[in-house]
Amino acid sequence: MGTVIVGAGQAGAWVAKSLRDCGYVDPVTLVGDEPHLPYERPPLSKAVFQDKGALEAARIWPPEDYASWNVELRLASSVDSIEPAERQVRLADGARLSYTHLVLATGARARRLGVKTDRFANLHYLRTREDSERLAAAVQPHTRVVVIGGGLIGLEVAAAARGRGATVTVVESADRLLGRVIDREFGEYIAARHRASGVAIRCASTIECIVGQERATEVVLSDGSTLGCDVLVAGIGALPNHELAQAAGLAVRDGILVDEFTRTSDPAIYAAGDVARFRDPHTGTYRRLELWENAQNQAIACAHAIAGRPRAYAPVAWGWSDQFDLNLQFVGDATGGDHEVRRGQVGAHRFIRFFFRGERLAGAAGVNAGREIRAVRRMLERRVSPDPQRLADLSVRLESLIPA
């Protein structure tokens, strides 16, 4: 009967490909509710504003690859339900697909502002290719853009819109930007970079109400001030699409619960990517990583488990964000530590901050320091905590601090 994969995004695509790489020969069916071939999402917030070809390039593999792997694609197809007892999924068009193994790679959806705001035609969320195209069309020079949410999505949109000549204000409810990703000092550095380019940043501010009929015309903030707007973009987090799993009786808790081999509470069903809340074997705790590398590598681990070659998945979180001329990268836990050390020059916009918890290197965040961050990823994977003085010393190559 083979493997059915629900969700034809990055994770679903990598499960399909990896199954074949593992020598799996049974049928593989990849079902997705979007009409597009699997594509990666990071370019949606950035490149689309600059380059029309970027969205096509976001496609992970050309159609002929799926054919050569003998992977059946069912795009623009929704799944209505999973029947674990029958080992079947029921599609919205009435078709039933039987499976030996089922993979849920259903991803996440943008969190909405609220039902009363659904009427605003100029309120945008950013998750799909259509969202990206619609937003790019709406943002022109001098468009007044209000971005709700100072996280990765909000700030990337803000930078890209500003690059297009729009007038941009970011409204963030916390007292700092990127609070879930980096520490306060780093957040202030990012805010300063945005301000230097003319983006207005309003932290510790919430939306009191939005004025308008079919279109939002004005936003009223918690301090009573108002912002005129032509375009509203909300980047306030994502909700895992775990409803199918929940309805089928699988264990869910803000995501589909899986072990370190991506197995759910049903022995024939797996989950991978944004939707999966997985057990970290090092700490025993569960987490969800809404990161590009997790979509890829957890999917590969999933395929290995199905193909009978299970490998424990214990990732070191790693992500990036491109804003203006900054390539921000974060690895491990970069939200702070009990002490830290810096490598490079903040003024030169090329530096890394390392965070320690006691003697242990817990994480790092850097700007325009990709080659060095690569070495830091290896350190964290190997659970190596170099001497902070050497980490800060520019005459020491970080690669030399990783044991062979």
């Binding site: 990666e40 990071p42 950035k46 490149a47 390039a57 496609r59 992970i60 593999w61 590009w292 590398e293 890829q296 990036w320 491109d322 390539n327 320091a369 990709g370 080659r371 961050i373 690569r374």
Partner: protein, 108 residues
């Protein structure tokens, strides 16, 4: 199909190219990355095909250059994109070394 005429430009001394750190040079407004793999010199466009990153700031190992922005990789000798998220091959340029000087061939 008419092959474009190539003009070779002197860009660096071969001995100055570090096998672990590509060198960035600019030729007639185009940023080029120079590499040394197993003693041979190679050249590609410097700007990654996946983002606004400079490949000369990338990590080189086993004949591959890994882009510093998002970790994708290209085969230096052929320009082939071999690791996600890079999917579009990087343009390579022919290299000649004459008496220790590296020349890169670019269309007229």
């Amino acid at each position: 199909m008419h092959e474009p005429e190539l003009v070779y430009h002197a860009v660096a001394k071969a001995e100055h190219i570090d096998p672990e750190e590509p060198m960035k040079v600019e030729v007639r407004g185009t940023a080029i990355a120079l590499y040394k793999v197993d003693g041979r010199c190679y050249a590609t466009d410097d700007q990654c095909t996946h983002g606004l990153a400079s490949l000369s700031l990338g990590y080189v190992c086993d004949g591959l250059v890994e882009c510093p922005f998002h970790g994708g990789a290209f085969e230096i000798a052929t320009g082939k994109a071999v690791k996600a998220p890079c999917t579009i091959d990087i343009r390579t340029h022919p290299v000649r070394v004459d008496d220790g000087t590296v020349f890169v061939g670019l269309p007229e």
